[in-house]
Symmetry: C2
């Protein structure tokens, strides 16, 4: 205990020095800077007005669609109005999947038909023109499929009905525990001769919205691919009950979606060039594409307009960044990640050193903090900034994942970050027609933009190369 206490004392001594130095040299101006940023965002923010346009004037913008190209042009124009040092669009080829006609589905029980709410999963093939009518086998996981085998599955529709786990506090963890049903459900069921797949929507709430999302056939030959669709949680519950009463009920569904040839689209990029280290890049971003069912307000209109507002807030708050700060609006996060990959590829090719990347892609809800993919030294530096964020109720600083679009930029030395808003309501809207502008609160959106701007300000000011701990101790 004595030895430990001695070390503890040394560390305490050091902590006090660090604290004093921080308090007197940096904390006050930083405190004021954050105050200015939050005030600007809450009283003079543009994010909400931008989101209104993106959601209500453009709407859902699936990669390859006309709306996606409208969004590209609009974002470029809006960034140009901000007086940034550079604004440009970066070409990228994207997949084009179209939903076609509105899907139809029902099941037959005691000579009655009950309509159900479904939507084709992104990437799925169509049914034939007459639709599919077959018996249903309900499962919770792939292990059960294997146990049941071809004899039980062949010729049937597989109904994946494992619900998101309600007692997980992070709804993203609950999503992670279920989404393999959606992504790989068809690929797995096809192995046993299933003719179609219906997946319970990734939604913690019981309601009538089917939630789409990407799925993959892996390397399944084209002639083995079976159609897959999501069913609303209410209808999943009802179907499950009906199956208990009548194992042999017939389910019908029809969809006419189609995967077309890749088309050209764009990432949209704006830059404030750094005053001291113009060749060190820090980026903030979200993805400009969305699913087609709602208007993509939370996923990821919110991240787009917040990221745009970060650069505007930096300028409005009178901050002159040392490093080059870019907003990057990625195309095709939802069904391909082509934009994120292309941005990273081009950055590598041009030898652009990306020291920091922050993505907002978890909805426009009250921000709670950040998740960091970085070294311990950088993470500890962030922990030292926690008191600066306390007045804004930003408390969550944990190591973990960042964002899908910025993932391809990962290096040992850089800092990747994901904004972490409150996650409780996210999956009420995710990939469904309920993801609309009215589900976003102006203040919550603006608090997110201010929180992102504050982190960018601090990393720009203090850099991403904090003194390693042992070096501090030697001083």
């Amino acid at each position: 205990m004595r030895l430990k206490t001695h070390i503890y004392t040394m560390k305490s001594y050091l902590s006090i020095i660090v604290l004093l130095v921080f308090s007197y040299s940096c904390a006050q101006p930083d405190k004021e800077a954050l105050k200015t940023i939050y005030k600007q965002s809450l009283t003079n923010g543009k994010a909400y007005e931008w989101l209104d346009h993106l959601s209500n004037k453009i709407g859902g913008r699936l990669s390859g669609s006309e709306n996606a190209e409208k969004a590209v042009l609009w974002a470029k124009t809006e960034l140009e109005k901000l007086g940034l040092d550079k604004v440009w669009i970066q070409p990228v080829m994207v997949p084009k999947w179209i939903r076609g006609e509105k899907e139809e589905a029902f099941y037959e029980v005691r000579r009655m038909t009950k309509k159900v709410n479904i939507c084709a999963l992104g990437g799925s093939v169509a049914t034939n023109n007459e639709g599919i009518r077959a018996s249903v086998i309900e499962v919770q996981d792939f292990e059960t499929l294997e146990k049941l085998g071809k004899s039980e599955i062949k010729g049937k529709i597989v109904f994946y009905n494992r619900p998101m786990q309600a007692d997980l506090i992070s709804t993203f963890s609950a999503y992670g525990g279920c989404v393999n049903q959606r992504y790989a459900g068809a690929m797995e069921a096809a192995k046993y001769g299933a003719v179609g797949v219906i997946v319970r929507s990734m939604n913690l709430r019981l309601d009538d919205f089917p939630h789409t999302g990407s799925m993959s056939y892996g390397d399944l030959p084209v002639n083995k691919r079976i159609p897959s669709a999501a069913i609303s949680t209410n209808d999943a519950e009802a179907l499950s009950s009906a199956l208990k009463a009548n194992k042999d009920l017939k389910f019908f569904f029809k969809q006419s979606c189609e995967q077309l040839e890749d088309v050209q689209s764009h990432n949209v990029i704006g830059e404030i060039t750094g005053s001291e280290f113009p060749n060190e890049y820090m980026i903030v971003g979200g993805h400009l594409d969305s699913w087609d069912l709602g208007d993509g307000s939370h996923d990821d209109g919110a991240g787009v307009v917040q990221s745009m507002d970060v650069l505007r807030l930096i300028k409005e708050s009178g901050i002159k960044p040392k490093r080059s700060i870019r907003v990057v609006l990625f195309m095709n996060e939802e069904n391909g990640l082509r934009g994120g990959r292309e941005y990273a590829r081009a950055a590598e090719e041009k030898n652009e050193k990306h020291v920091f990347a922050l993505e907002s892609d978890a909805g426009g809800f009250t921000p709670r903090g950040f998740s960091f993919d970085c070294s311990d030294a950088n993470f500890n530096q962030v922990l030292g900034w926690k008191p600066l964020f306390k007045p804004y109720l930003i408390h969550y600083f944990e190591k973990g994942g960042s964002g899908a679009d910025i993932g391809p930029l990962k290096k040992d030395s850089n800092v990747l970050v994901g904004l972490r808003p409150d996650s409780q309501r996210y999956f009420d809207y995710h990939h469904a027609s309920s993801d609309t502008f009215d589900a976003v609160n102006k203040r919550e959106l603006e608090l997110g933009a201010a929180t992102m701007t504050s982190l960018v300000y601090l990393f720009d000011k203090y850099g991403t190369n904090p003194l390693p701990e042992n070096k501090s101790i030697k001083n």
Copy 2:
């Protein structure tokens, strides 16, 4: 520096001991207890189902109304179903104010009339049958009224238009900075001969909902009382613009509200009697009354059903409390606080020792923590529990106010606590017809109930008499 470091070392040493003792003796069972409580609430909660009934089957329940009495009976019946040790209702006389006919209002500009959304403030007198038509004088505060004086105000309608301050992170602080316009606006304006008062709604959002709330005439004689109403934020902005263009525009409003004689109503109380200290009482509560415009889901249906569920969750989680735990559903928080006062008066009369009281009356949003009105010793004890709450993202533990209904129970020795949910959206709904069931998210509501139950569990287990700090140091 050396002396300070020495003290720091002593404190560190002590902290380590406290931490170790806590970690090995208490933390594990407490960690498990909280896990059980949260799981129960999120997978087997009753709060949402109860709120559905209270909001959709009963609805708005202003004190003295038929709905308020329906709510009393319903709550008593539901508590009786839980198998508590005692359930009863406590009589209390409450004011009865009725809104009467739907209010009408418009202003005239360039021979056009523009309809505006208003609602009478709770406690206001009516206009006469023909309504009031008068010029308008816009002010931001009472100081301006004084400067303008009778000469400028007499015969006019005073329009209070000071908005809630958007850059305050706590929306309750923004409310606190504005609500004197609503509460005392008529009383102040009447002094200068105003004939009526229109108050900008206490709402941070620009929308069309007028928000009611209590107002008072103080000791103004009956014949000096002037009618007062709230106007929606959109209409407040429009009226203000119209006044800039035309100072002499005429505003008309008509309302037929009335203050009737007091009537009898009730608090509803349920109890689990303590196993070790049955004469020490810990209470959790919310208020059963609401305003009449919406169905009072956030204010305070949420607090009511969460408080009811605290007692159910204690039983379901297998916790046998040492102290007597009561749920108290207070009547008449909104326009009189009679229920809270009567509960405290009766407790005093019966010499019931209330060691702890927790109120939920800030909406059914994601819980962030608690505000404590208690001694430093009790507050420090709570800070020691912070790690137990971290997995549930409960991070806000501050000294401050608790709740209006439990305020009358305050003693030097007891602990009063207010649940603090995320406050960003609260004033979108507060006292308006937008405060309805669909604005409440099931998980957010349930997380609140679990968070309240967890604090009750800890205070019951460890008591409200922690060792004073100097005693610990002597050991």
